[in-house]
C-alpha cells in the first residue's frame, strides 16, 4: 500500500475511534443526566454540621436532588444550595418543605415534603428547612404528659391530705355522725315512737352498729391511702435516675462475671474426663512398678518359702 493511503487509513481509523468514544461518552453522560437542565434552590440553617456536598434529598425514599454548595453567609448563618433535574422539578413547589431528619440510628438525611397542588417554585428560590431530632421529639411529646401526671399526683396528694386530716371537715362530720348514731342507739324507743313500729328501733340500732364499724374502717383506709400517696409522690413521681443507673451498672457487671464463670465451669467440666484418664494411667503405672519390684524381690531372695510359719 502507498504511503498516502496508509496515512489516510490511519487517519480515518483514528477519527472513527474518536467519534465513537465521544459518542459513547456523550451517551453515557446523557443517560446520567449531565446534560439535563438543573434547577437550583437554597435554604439557610444555623449550622452546617449535619450537611455535606453531595448529600441527597429524598422523596419517598428516592434521591431527587443533591446539595452542591455550602457556604457561610455574612450574618454567620449557613446557606446551602441544592439542585434537581427536569424530571424531579415537579416536586419542588411553593409549599414544599425540607426536613433534616436525625434518626437515633443511622446518618442524617434530608426529606422533601411536597405539595403537588401548589405551583412550582421558581428557580433559585429559598425553601423552608426544618431540623427534626428524634430524641428531642420524644422528650417534647412526653413532657406535657409527664407534667400532667405530676400535677395530678400533687392534686391527689392535696385531696388526701385534707381528707385524712383529723381536724378536717370530713373527719369532723364523721365524728358528729358517730355521736348521733350513739344517741339513737341509746334510745330505740324514740325511733319506735316516731315510726309506730316497735321493731324499728332495734333494726335501726343494728344498722347503726354496722355503719359505725364501716366509718371506722373508712377512716383507717383514708389514712392508709394518704400515706401511700406520699410515698408515691416521693418515690415514683420523681424517680432517682442515679439509682437506676447504678443498678444497671451492677447488673451488667454481674452478667459479665457470670459469663466468665460459665466458661470456666465448662472448661473444668471438660477436664473431668482427662483427670479420670490420667488417674487410670497412673494406677496402671503404679501397678506395673509394683509387679517389677515383686519380681526383683523374688529374684534377690536366698530362700523362697511357700509356707507361712506361724509366729
Amino acid at each position: 500500500m502507498s504511503y498516502f493511503r496508509l496515512k489516510l487509513a490511519v487517519g480515518f481509523f483514528m477519527l472513527t475511534l474518536g467519534l465513537v468514544t465521544l459518542g459513547l461518552t456523550g451517551y453515557l453522560l446523557y443517560q446520567k443526566g449531565v446534560f439535563d437542565q438543573k434547577y437550583h434552590f437554597q435554604f439557610t440553617t444555623p449550622s452546617a454540621q449535619s450537611f455535606k456536598v453531595g448529600m441527597p434529598l429524598l422523596l419517598s425514599g428516592f434521591e431527587v436532588g443533591y446539595i452542591d454548595d455550602i457556604h457561610l453567609t455574612e450574618t454567620g448563618l449557613v446557606n446551602l444550595r441544592f439542585y434537581v433535574n427536569e424530571t424531579n422539578r415537579k416536586w419542588i413547589t411553593e409549599n414544599s418543605r425540607l426536613i433534616l431528619k436525625k434518626p437515633l440510628i443511622g446518618s442524617p438525611y434530608i426529606e422533601i415534603l411536597s405539595d403537588r397542588s401548589s405551583p412550582l417554585l421558581a428557580d433559585g428560590s429559598d425553601v423552608e428547612m426544618t431540623v427534626s431530632d428524634d430524641i428531642n421529639d420524644i422528650i417534647i411529646k412526653l413532657e406535657p404528659t409527664v407534667n400532667q401526671l405530676i400535677a395530678i399526683v400533687e392534686d391527689f396528694s392535696l385531696i388526701t391530705e385534707q381528707v385524712s386530716n383529723p381536724e378536717g371537715a370530713l373527719f369532723q362530720t364523721l365524728g358528729h355522725l358517730e355521736v348521733i348514731i350513739r344517741d339513737l342507739k341509746e334510745s330505740p324507743s324514740f325511733v319506735s315512737s316516731l315510726t309506730g313500729n316497735p321493731e324499728d328501733g332495734q333494726t335501726l340500732s343494728d344498722t347503726l352498729n354496722t355503719t359505725q364499724a364501716s366509718i371506722k374502717e373508712l377512716q383507717k383506709t383514708i389514712l392508709g391511702v394518704s400515706g401511700l400517696v406520699e410515698n408515691l409522690n416521693a418515690a415514683i413521681v420523681v424517680p432517682s435516675k442515679d439509682i437506676m443507673t447504678q443498678v444497671s451498672t451492677i447488673l451488667t457487671d454481674v452478667t459479665l462475671k457470670l459469663n466468665t464463670l460459665e466458661s470456666t465451669v465448662q472448661a473444668l467440666g471438660g477436664t473431668d474426663q482427662d483427670i479420670l484418664i490420667l488417674k487410670q494411667q497412673l494406677l496402671k503405672s503404679v501397678e506395673k512398678t509394683n509387679q517389677l519390684i515383686d519380681k526383683i524381690d523374688y529374684m534377690m531372695q536366698d530362700e523362697n518359702s511357700n509356707r507361712l510359719e506361724l509366729p
Binding site: Y298, M299, Q301, N304, S305, N306, L308, E309, L310, P311
Partner: protein, 222 residues
C-alpha cells in the same frame, strides 16, 4: 595377656553369680509373695512402722487371695491374730473364723484354740514346736517354771505370743526381761505395749512413772 585373663575371669564370676539368680518364677509365686509380705508386715508392725505394716499386710492378703486354696489366707489371718496378741491387742480373730469352715487345717484350729485359751491336751502336738513345752505346762494348770519356759521360747515373736497368753502369771522380772529383749530388737510398738502393761502391774510407783515417761518420749513426734 594378663588383661585377657582378668576379663575372662570376671565373665566367669558373673556367669556363676547369674546362675544363682532365678529369672523365672515358679507357679506358686503368689504363695511366696504372700509369705514374704507377711514377714515384712510382722517386722514393720512390731517396730511400730504402721503405714508400711498396713501396706504389707494388704499385700499379703491380696497375694493369698490369688488362689482358690484358702489355706494360705487362713494362715495369714491367724498369724495376724497372733501378732495382735503379741502386742497385747485384744482380737477376736474374726477374719480367720470366716475362713475356718472352708479350710481343712487342724494345726490352724489348734493354734486358734491356743490363742483363745481353749486348747485341749490332744491339740498341743499340732502347735508349732516352740510352743510344746509351754503349752503342756499351761494346759496342766501348773505355773511353776512358767517364766523360764516363756523366756526360753524362740523366736521372739513366739515368746511374745506365749507371754501374752500367760501374762497374768508372769513375774515382774520376766516382764522386764521381755521388754529388754523387744528393746534390743527395736520392736518399738511391742516395747511400748509391754511397758504400759508393766506400769499397771508394778507396785513400785517410781518404776511406773519412769515407764510412763519413757512411753511418752517414744510416742512423741519430735
Amino acid at each position: 595377656m594378663k588383661r585377657r585373663v582378668l576379663i575372662a575371669f570376671g565373665v566367669f564370676v558373673l556367669f556363676i553369680s547369674g546362675c544363682s539368680i532365678q529369672f523365672s518364677q515358679p507357679q506358686n509365686a503368689w504363695q511366696v509373695k504372700a509369705v514374704s509380705a507377711f514377714q515384712n508386715y510382722q517386722k514393720y508392725y512390731l517396730e511400730g512402722r504402721v503405714i508400711l505394716a498396713e501396706s504389707e499386710r494388704r499385700k499379703a492378703i491380696s497375694q493369698a487371695k490369688q488362689s482358690a486354696k484358702l489355706e494360705t489366707l487362713a494362715r495369714v489371718y491367724i498369724a495376724d491374730c497372733a501378732i495382735q496378741a503379741a502386742v497385747l491387742n485384744a482380737s477376736d480373730c474374726a477374719l480367720y473364723l470366716q475362713v475356718k469352715p472352708l479350710v481343712n487345717a487342724p494345726e490352724l484350729e489348734a493354734y486358734y484354740h491356743f490363742l483363745s485359751g481353749s486348747l485341749s491336751a490332744s491339740e498341743v502336738d499340732k502347735l508349732p514346736s516352740q510352743y510344746h513345752g509351754f503349752a503342756k505346762k499351761w494346759q496342766s494348770g501348773k505355773t511353776t517354771k512358767l517364766d523360764e519356759l516363756v523366756l526360753a521360747i524362740s523366736p521372739l515373736e513366739s515368746q511374745l505370743v506365749s507371754a501374752s497368753i500367760a501374762k497374768e502369771m508372769l513375774t515382774l522380772k520376766t516382764l522386764r526381761a521381755i521388754i529388754q529383749t523387744t528393746a534390743d530388737y527395736g520392736y518399738k510398738l511391742a516395747s511400748i505395749r509391754w511397758m504400759t502393761y508393766l506400769s499397771d502391774r508394778t507396785p513400785d510407783a517410781d518404776e511406773s512413772a519412769q515407764l510412763l515417761k519413757k512411753i511418752e518420749i517414744l510416742t512423741k513426734d519430735s
